[in-house]
């Protein structure tokens, strides 16, 4: 089938370079291909040497892969970014307000803005958190908000990631790489810096400490070095100067969390955990978890240790709750959403289900609780056979699925085997909530490297680009 028209970030419809890409376009025009090839090779080599890798599940244990990095940046004009910023702050404030509400008064459910069963019967709703006060009322300290631009050039929020969003290390390493390869481009124009992210994150985690703790001991908890995001865990711990711990390094005594050190046990106040709720405490959640710390939940509920993100944050980024985020913004903030939601069909509704089954070819269908691009069907690029198979899964348990129109996703020129060609992208800014809401300008740009593909996840053959906010 013919590809739908899409928004090209670099060229306008007449084929002229958009003004915010002028500097890069000049460089591209004036640089011999050998030099460009050399830069691409240098980037590959450096990423390999630094060991910026991710593990791919389903491949041999511990298999490490390099995430493909593309030299052409995703450039966004400053004024456009201001609008996005406003939208991000608004959205994350509403999500945090929602999380506090559903674990306390449940006003939004009482007001009938969200069907109560969508929340209360969701496995991401953690009853253990009902009535528990978390420091500052913040649940999602770190939020990854996935944005895409449709053919009309408008931003849409594709999904919210409030559990353990990853990828920020690539954002930082991509920038480092670009500054190494293109110092002249950074000298020529004002590209807003991003390197202070670890400082902002550390400040956010300090703010998350239980009340009365002045100089909190903060640790980053990782599932271990076989986890796909281990590089990032180690990287962030190092950048912030905090201990990188695994479950076996911690223990709980008298509702207090300690880490085992060469100088004996030391108290821990804040845990930036990059491990899912299900695995953090075998006594409260999955009893077979070898990664967690027995008793951690009890210490957490007693307010003796803070977790970022809070347990139970997943209820706000669940795909079956996503359609109600604009309602949350209106309900808690009394504002109209700045960033639009993608229209979402809930297949638990008969009318939606009928429509989706009849129009599978034009829609994207996802599992409400899936992530990482696994288990989704992209209608326009699917085969008849794939659609038939997927249809059976949907009809078996329709309430487990949602569907959305296929957005065309904007594209940025990208180096492929035979030169430059447009490839689709999305953008994930990382929003930090503490006493104030903070983020570094831009975010991680992910790119689908296969022609026509709309799946940008690194686990599915996606790559990354540096993101420039230029003034």
């Amino acid at each position: 089938m013919a590809l739908k028209p899409f928004f090209n970030e670099m060229y306008d419809t007449a084929g002229a370079v958009r003004p915010h890409y002028a500097a890069f376009a000049d460089w591209l025009k004036n640089t011999p291909p050998e030099k460009i090839a050399q830069n691409r090779q240098a980037a590959d080599l450096m990423f390999h040497r630094v060991g910026i890798t991710f593990a791919v599940y389903g491949e041999a244990t511990g298999a490490e892969r390099l995430i493909p990095f593309d030299l052409v940046p995703h450039v966004i004009p400053g004024d456009q970014w201001e609008m996005v910023s406003r939208g991000l702050k608004q959205r994350v404030a509403a999500l945090n307000a929602f999380l506090h509400d559903v674990y306390h008064e449940m006003e939004i459910l009482k007001a009938g803005k969200i069907p109560a069963d969508k929340v209360l019967e969701n496995s991401q709703f953690r009853k253990e958190m009902v009535g528990i006060d978390v420091p500052g009322g913040i649940y999602a300290h770190v939020a990854g908000i996935d944005l895409v631009k449709d053919a009309d050039g408008e931003y849409y929020v594709l999904e919210d990631n409030l559990r353990t969003p990853s990828g920020v290390s690539y954002l930082l390493e991509n920038r480092k790489m670009m500054m190494r390869l293109f110092p002249e481009l950074f000298a020529q124009q004002r590209i807003r810096p991003v390197d202070h992210y670890p400082d902002l994150l550390l400040e956010t985690l300090r703010n998350a400490a239980p009340p009365g703790v002045d100089n909190p001991a903060i640790v980053l908890m990782t599932p271990g070095h076989f986890n796909s995001a281990y590089f990032e865990h180690a990287f962030l711990a190092q950048q912030m100067g905090i201990e990188l711990v695994e479950g076996i390094d911690l223990f709980v005594q008298d509702n207090t969390v300690f880490m085992k050190t060469t100088q004996g046990p030391q108290k821990v106040d804040v845990i930036y955990r990059r491990i899912d709720d299900d695995f953090i405490d075998p006594l409260s959640f999955r009893p077979d978890s070898m990664l967690g710390v027995p008793g951690l939940m009890k210490a957490y509920r007693a307010g003796r240790v803070a977790l970022a993100n809070a347990v139970g944050s997943g209820i706000a980024d669940d795909k079956s709750v996503y359609p109600y985020v604009p309602e949350m913004i209106r309900f808690y903030l009394g504002e109209e959403p700045v960033l639009k939601n993608v229209h979402t069909y809930m297949l638990g509704n008969k009318a939606d289900l009928d429509y989706v089954i009849a129009n599978m070819k034009d829609l994207v269908i996802k599992e409400a609780q899936g992530s990482g691009g696994y288990g989704m069907l992209v209608g326009p690029t699917s085969t008849r056979e794939e659609r038939e198979k997927y249809k059976q899964r949907v009809l078996d348990q329709p309430e487990r699925f949602i569907a959305q129109p296929t957005l065309s996703l904007s594209a940025v020129p990208t180096f492929v085997d035979n030169g430059l060609a447009p490839r689709h992208i999305d953008l994930r800014p990382y929003v930090l909530s503490g006493k104030t809401v903070n983020f570094v300008p831009g975010g991680l740009t992910r790119v689908a490297l296969r022609e026509g593909s709309l799946v940008v996840n690194s686990s599915q053959g996606g790559g990354v680009k540096d993101t420039w906010i230029v003034d």
Binding site: H225, D254, T262, G264
Partner: protein
């Protein structure tokens, strides 16, 4: 610092040091084997690396013949041999990867790129590159890692546990190198000797980079007594037992905790005996016996370090509550 992190730093350092020492040992065997034209005598030289590393048994389980090609492959490239240079590079890198938040990025990059290159090494490439050139490369990577470590890491516990691993491993290796050649170091009627002895003795010195130091210290012919004195008792030779144990003792005092007394005491006893020992007494006791004792002691010390720092038993509940109160 986290106990697990300390353990991994310690083992990271031990594996790097081990790889370097194995490269030295193999290099010497290789050079020695070139000195003789008799193929049987040539193969004799290849027992030494296996004896030193205590791998003669696993080796002979899989090879019927001790010869250059087999031993080189087994000790340098064999992924099935846990102490091959290949596996040392792998283990060093794996440990570093698990603590890369604690070491500097430069340290990580050295071990990571060493491992990437090591993976590309096979027998054909080894001989194409040249056997000695390969050992040079291993030594250079180890030197580079040491230099990068000293030049970039903060002088904190991470640095101390890295050094601790380095010196415990080196003391062990030097003792084994001397022990493997103890029979040729024994004073005999042919004491001042023939050419073969000269090459054997200088080979021992070269394998611990102490040949030039020997000349500078003694300005005289090479004798077994002096070799033993240099490599065991001199405090200014960086691969001598005295030098290593001096640092081990100092480090243990610097990182001591409430359960590390026995480790410090053991290191202190060994260090004191090296500080005040005399080479005549060592030979009177028997060089081999002396080294066997020494290796038993460092083995015990290794266990004590493990118990005191890496797998600490937790203090009773009351003591922990006190910790909580004082740090809250």
């Amino acid at each position: 610092m986290l106990s697990r992190t300390a353990a991994m730093l310690y083992w990271m350092a031990r594996y790097v040091e081990r790889a370097e020492n194995h490269a030295r040992i193999l290099d010497v065997a290789y050079r020695m084997s070139l000195l003789t034209k008799d193929p049987n005598l040539q193969d004799q030289e290849w027992f030494a690396p296996l004896n030193i590393t205590g791998t003669l048994f696993p080796f002979s389980g899989r090879h019927s013949l001790v010869c250059a090609k087999e031993v080189l492959h087994f000790m340098a490239l064999d992924s099935e041999n846990p102490t091959s240079i290949y596996n040392c590079a792998k283990q060093a890198r794996e440990n570093a990867r698990a603590v890369r938040g604690t070491i500097t990025s430069e340290m990580w990059e050295v071990l990571n790129s060493t491992w990437i290159e090591m993976q590309n090494m096979d027998e054909d490439r080894l001989y194409a590159k040249g056997v000695s050139a390969f050992f040079e490369w291993v030594k250079e990577r180890s030197h580079l890692f040491r230099g990068v470590t000293f030049g970039t890491i903060r002088r904190d516990d991470a640095f101390q546990f890295h050094r601790l691993g380095t010196y415990v491993e080196r003391a062990d290796n030097t003792a084994r190198i001397i022990d493997a050649k103890y029979h040729i170091l024994l004073p005999s009627v042919h004491d001042v000797g023939g050419a073969v002895d000269y090459y054997q003795w200088s080979a021992v010195l070269r394998s611990v980079s102490a040949f030039e130091s020997y000349r500078k210290v003694y300005r005289d012919v090479i004798t077994p007594l002096r070799i033993a004195e240099l490599l065991i008792l001199r405090v200014d030779i960086p691969r001598s037992l005295h030098f290593c144990m001096h640092d081990v003792y100092e480090i243990l005092r610097a990182v001591q905790n409430t359960s590390s007394h026995e480790a410090t005491r053991l290191a202190g006893v060994v260090y004191a005996s090296l500080q005040f020992g005399r080479v005549q007494d060592i030979f009177a006791q028997g060089l081999h016996e002396y080294l066997t004792d020494f290796l038993a002691n460092t083995g015990r010390l290794s266990n004590e370090i493990n118990t005191a720092f890496f797998s600490p038993t937790l203090p009773p509940a009351s003591a922990q509550s006190q910790t909580a109160l004082t740090t809250a």
